[in-house]
Point group: C2
Chain length 205, copies 2
């Protein structure tokens, strides 16, 4: 097993969370390097693309969260080996990244522009993405997004849904998941109840 160091912000969620959870579930040792926002300005210029997460694999800094997710997914066995199931898993990973990027862009806006843009996202794209995820989950048996078992796709959706439901995003109701696709709430709660994941968050509460 290579030496792994995952650098990401000191938050319970976001782009770095699925890889942390996967490594934890599989019991694979890694350095969970957490960056507090006050240190980020200095550290940003040291990161290859000025972004996090970065997974160092025997010293090589692998960037881009979904490249990290697929690599970690294969190390941990949480990624389909079947070609088509892998495509379905990838589609979920990329869809959540797509809408997360649209929401993420609003953090860099002025207060007024942020409000306007979030209202636009609530009026269209967020329900569209949540609705499709809910439909995909239901079509696949309503437990997992690919391969009839827990994969990186579930962890990616879990982290996003958990964030939306936490209510920390101004102008985006914490009830939006429930109103668009309530089976995603049940999915999130089921993942949260996995013993290794429940223990992970209990230790960090």
């Amino acid at each position: 097993m290579p030496e792994l160091r995952l650098t990401y912000f000191d938050i319970h969620g976001g782009r770095g969370e699925p890889a942390r959870l996967a490594l934890t579930l599989a019991g694979i040792p890694f350095e969970d390097r957490r960056v507090v926002l006050s240190d980020w300005r200095d550290l940003k210029s040291e990161m290859p693309l000025g972004t996090l997460p970065v997974l160092e694999v025997d010293g090589y800094p692998l960037t881009q969260s979904n490249a990290i997710n697929r690599y970690v997914g294969q190390l941990t066995g949480l990624y389909p080996t079947d070609l088509w199931q892998a495509a379905l898993c990838d589609e979920i990973l990329e869809s959540v990244e797509d809408i997360s990027t649209q929401i993420g862009a609003t953090f860099r806006m002025s207060t007024d522009a942020r409000r306007t843009q979030r209202e636009l996202l609530v009026a269209g794209p967020i329900p569209l993405f949540l609705g499709r995820l809910g439909t995909q989950l239901r079509a696949r048996g309503d437990r997992y997004f690919a391969d009839d078992r827990l994969t990186m796709a579930d962890l990616k959706v879990f982290a996003w849904v958990r964030h939306l439901r936490s209510g920390v995003l101004d102008h985006i109701s914490s009830a939006i998941v429930e109103s668009c696709a309530d089976n995603l709430c049940a999915h999130q709660e089921r993942i949260a109840a996995e013993p290794a994941i429940a223990a992970w968050y209990a230790e960090r509460a």
Copy 2:
């Protein structure tokens, strides 16, 4: 082989181009369904996420360009089988998608905002991404981005560099690739000279 229909805009480039090129290189039949902009308004609501490309695989509409790229890459043999080489290929696919999304967002802005935002991208992110791609290519022997052979990563970079060098983007100089990473120009020209790719573009000039 499944029945494949790739729906994308009628342009020589963008998010749908790497999959078209890969299927062409491998000689795998597919329906190359091209959408002209005047038809897009009506068609958009029929697409699962309101976006293109969409690859229908025996009728299932697979969305998200990099999910399509990985699936097509494996069908065509243009994707690494080695776990680490696949991670390096994925990192390139996601990096190009990342910066392309940043540029893409400017198309939806007002004229003034577009100019300001493109000047910001030219002052920082575009040179950063080009510079890192150039460094990665050089570190891997200066011919291919992963696996010492042509993969989807090369086709993704090729389509982006070809677009930048075409000079169609206002406020982004067509010389920016050459000035940031001239080995990416040589890489683009080498891919363009692959007989199947040269023939593809010659037929569509």
